[in-house]
């Protein structure tokens, strides 16, 4: 089977397409993979089809594997596990932007996956949402905040059964670039809820690179600054 011969290009293309899609019969899969190891033309055909279909794979909502997976990989490769993280620096927590910076890549990915919501809506000038995936230090999404540019509220949706401890509330904070957090209000209890904004979302979130959620006593922080632990944070992503 000389698949790299020009006459066979069409057949190669079809086989490569089915390989990348995953429908090739087992023997054909095995054979193609083996040929590709020694034949650049065949290898390129497979790779090109993988690239063509790749944007689809990026749509699958991400799922973080259990920590044991990394532990096993590290132990198999003899990689030292990183020692416990150093104690937090004395700067105020909103100044330690590393947390949400680190999360922003993960949340971009999730936000792209959430493009699903965007395309499910009819097209129009104001469908593109603002998305903030609020995740804990384990990078697991806990709450997802969305808004259209002109909405005067943020829609907050819990992921799984995220809820504050009994007798406490979640408070939502805007984290401006260089100043202390600004409260956006207490997140009402219950599934999908709205947190009202004073101005349209696009405007309210201008120069706000990230949001965070802290655990507070009922009614919200008595001091105007977070008093309880900051449980979740995430970068503000604009999908337009």
């Amino acid at each position: 089977m000389n698949l790299s011969h020009p006459d066979r290009r069409e057949r190669l293309d079809r086989l490569a397409a089915e390989y990348a899609l995953g429908t090739s019969p087992p023997l054909v899969r095995k054979r193609l993979a083996a040929i590709a190891r020694g034949d650049r033309v065949v290898a390129d055909a497979l790779r090109q089809w993988e690239e063509r279909l790749a944007p689809l794979a990026a749509e699958v909502p991400v799922i973080t594997p259990a920590p044991r997976v990394w532990a096993r990989i590290a132990s198999r490769l003899g990689i030292e596990m990183r020692p416990a993280p150093p104690p937090p620096p004395p700067a105020p927590w909103w100044g330690r932007l590393a947390l949400w910076r680190a999360l922003s890549i993960a949340s971009t990915v999730i936000a792209v996956a959430l493009g699903i919501a965007k395309f499910a809506q009819p097209p129009g000038p104001d469908v593109a949402p603002i998305v903030v995936v609020l995740a804990g230090s384990d990078a697991k999404p806990a709450l997802i905040a969305t808004a259209s540019r002109l909405d005067r509220y943020l829609t907050i949706k819990p992921v799984g059964n995220t809820a504050p401890a009994a007798g406490q509330v979640f408070e939502l904070w805007a984290l401006p670039q260089a100043s202390p957090p600004k409260s956006l209000g207490v997140i009402p209890a219950g599934g999908v809820v709205r947190v009202p904004l004073a101005a349209p979302a696009d405007e309210s979130l201008t120069n706000i690179p990230a949001l965070a959620v802290s655990l507070e006593p009922p009614g919200g922080s008595p001091t105007g600054q977070p008093t309880g632990p900051v449980l979740y944070s995430g970068a503000v992503e604009r999908m337009f």
Partner: protein
């Protein structure tokens, strides 16, 4: 896709490519970061195909061990880093799934649902996934041009790793029909994507 999303994606690709080149020099910290940034993609793709956590975890484990040893074979001029990584996991998942089918149930029957075809009750359906996506705009537009049967067959195959036989069973259509949907669908997809690329 908006300019800012495109830029963010280009930056991410550049970052992953840089990490891969450091991994090829046995940089453990780069490897750890690469894992942190990409493992949730590989795991999600594998889990959708094999449907069992333990097996998906094993696939991710094998994929990264492989990446550690072969990061030097990654060619930035030829593929996007995330595509390359996800292809490793996808292909492992598909190989394993096919092998298990042959081992355990023989060729899937043409009637009733074969074991192992389980779809998560919540979350987007394969067709929704296929039609979603900002980055996937070109392919999404092209997929829209496919006839309904081809669209559904290609989505199920891609996201759940269904074989032709399983597709036929799941869609309750003759094997030949499903095969030709897939074949014609892919050919049409390619023509459409080539035109889109040429038109840019």
């Amino acid at each position: 896709m908006s300019a800012s999303a495109a830029t963010a994606q280009a930056e991410r690709s550049a970052r992953l490519a840089a990490l891969l080149s450091r991994v090829s020099l046995s940089d453990q910290r780069a490897f750890e970061e690469l894992y942190r940034l990409t493992s949730a993609h590989l795991y999600a793709v594998a889990l959708r195909i094999v449907g069992e956590r333990a097996i998906a975890e094993e696939i991710v484990q094998e994929a990264y061990v492989n990446v550690w040893h072969h990061a030097g074979t990654y060619d930035a001029a030829r593929s996007q880093p995330l595509t390359w990584l996800m292809s490793i996991a996808r292909n492992r998942a598909l190989d394993l799934k096919r092998r298990r089918e042959v081992d355990t149930i023989g060729l899937p029957g043409a009637d009733d649902d074969s074991p192992g075809i389980e779809f998560p009750a919540d979350g987007p359906s394969p067709v929704e996934l296929l039609l979603a996506g900002a980055d996937a705009r070109a392919i999404r537009d092209c997929v829209e041009t496919l006839e309904a049967g081809a669209k559904q067959a290609i989505a199920l195959a891609f996201f759940h790793g269904l074989s032709h036989g399983e597709l036929a069973a799941h869609l309750r259509e003759p094997l030949g029909t499903v095969k030709s949907w897939v074949r014609r669908g892919l050919a049409k997809l390619r023509r459409c994507l080539d035109q889109t690329v040429a038109a840019r």
